[in-house]
Amino acid sequence: MLRLEDLQIPDLETINLTIAPGECVGLSGESGSGKTRLLRAIADMDEHGGQVYEEGIAQDQVRAHEWRRRVMLLPAESQWWLDTVGEHFIGHVEHIDVLGFEPEVMSWNISRCSSGEKQRLSILRMLANCPRVLLLDEPTANLDASNTARVEDMVRKYLTEFNAIAIWVGHDAEQLKRVSQHQYLLSDGRFIKVNPA
């Protein structure tokens, strides 16, 4: 379970939210509305007020890097700092084929990868760390329809298999309905539930 308790981010209203294991929350909003800042606060990358709990453990109860290994943020633009793809991965990488790659991808040179390939690889890299919570900042922005479907499928399977949690930030309302059980909107500093049934 992931619980945001009185989370305070500049220019946003105080946010309270609970997400059950295995669930995904979709989050949309205009650019500049604070979606990325919300994800960064949950990953403890920015200063913020309030508290975040993951399976009952508060953010400041563990060291920051341990928190981020459990609550992992996938930035909109992934960064690669070594020469080859494989050097950025720790441990064994499973399901390389699920996102449409051959195992040889690990020996590819980073400079040869397209932005779409980097985006898919960054998702593989994230999942290889086995995080409990995935904070996905527009994970399919650079992808075509077939690869978008592959990523959606992979995340869905990961959540079911590990009973993990995700917050999926995106602009496509149809996609958010497909991947998430609950949808929220950030607008004018307000955090609003979409279609409370």
Binding site: H65, R68, P75, R125
Partner: protein, 269 residues
């Protein structure tokens, strides 16, 4: 064996200044735009060095500790300020000055004290003929390395801040996320002195040794002093760069391992 020391006279210096004047004349004739700065620099060096010569002569004959400490303090402050002035990204005021001054204490002040007490064993230990030139040489040489290492760390970290944050997001410790850049900065800080040691005697004759030889010292004695200086400068620079990298890295990340340039750098105007 002590060779005769030939003192320079004012006409000797005037002959040398004719060369500079000729250069200034040619420069302005060809409109190369260096004449004015060259004139000012030549006048500055003459005035500054003459003044220092007079001060040193007074201090050497008096050899009073408070005066020596005052000179040391002035030298260290100017050197600290010089390190900050060479930074492309300006560190926050008092904190930046503190780090810079502290690094010079390590690289020059303590090392000079060590040399005076343990190696040279001058009597009294603050004998200005040894203390001041030694400190000056250490300051001048370690300052370079410290300024280079500091600049490389802050500049590279700033350019690669997205990479550093990505590494943090993947669960790396702050020290791990900055490690490559810190290693690179250490090398950048040490390269000048490593080059100087490698080239010494083969490509270049170091200034201090040359000076001693000109003043009539036997070359082997001058060489011994030069080796001492090289070792002092190397260890001083190395320890100081390590400490500067540690201090800046700690300032760059907060207790929650977040990248915080706002703590490190001046606000851009």
């Amino acid at each position: 064996m002590k060779a005769e020391f030939i003192a320079l006279t004012a006409p000797d210096l005037m002959l040398a200044s004719l060369l500079v004047l000729a250069l200034i004349g040619l420069g302005s004739r060809l409109r190369l735009g260096v004449s004015q700065t060259l004139t000012i620099a030549a006048l500055r060096t003459t005035a500054q060095l003459l003044l220092v010569g007079l001060i040193l002569e007074a201090v050497f004959t008096q050899a009073k500790l408070p005066w020596i400490m005052l000179i040391v303090l002035v030298m260290m402050t100017v050197a600290a300020w010089e390190i900050l002035a060479r930074q492309k990204r300006k560190l926050r005021g008092r904190w930046g000055f503190g780090v810079s001054l502290f690094s010079l204490f390590i690289s020059s002040f303590f090392i000079t004290l060590l040399a005076l007490f343990i190696i040279i064993e001058a009597d009294p230990w603050y004998t200005p003929q040894y203390a001041i030139p030694l400190l000056g040489m250490l300051l001048g040489n370690t300052m370079n390395g410290i300024a280079l290492g500091m600049d490389r760390l802050v500049q590279t970290a700033w350019q690669q801040r997205a990479v550093i944050e990505q590494r943090l997001m993947l669960g790396q410790k702050d020290t791990e996320a900055i490690r490559d850049i810190a290693r690179d900065s250490m090398r950048a800080g040490m390269i000048p002195i490593i080059n100087a040691m490698a080239a010494a005697g083969v490509v270049s004759l170091p200034g201090m040794m040359t000076g001693q030889i000109l003043a009539g010292s036997p070359p082997v004695e001058a060489v011994k002093y030069q080796i001492l200086i090289m070792f002092l400068v190397t260890s001083g620079t190395g320890f100081a760069v390590i400490i500067v990298l540690q201090l800046i890295t700690r300032r760059m990340f907060d207790s929650r391992e977040r990248l915080r340039f706002d703590r490190l750098l001046k606000e851009p105007r």
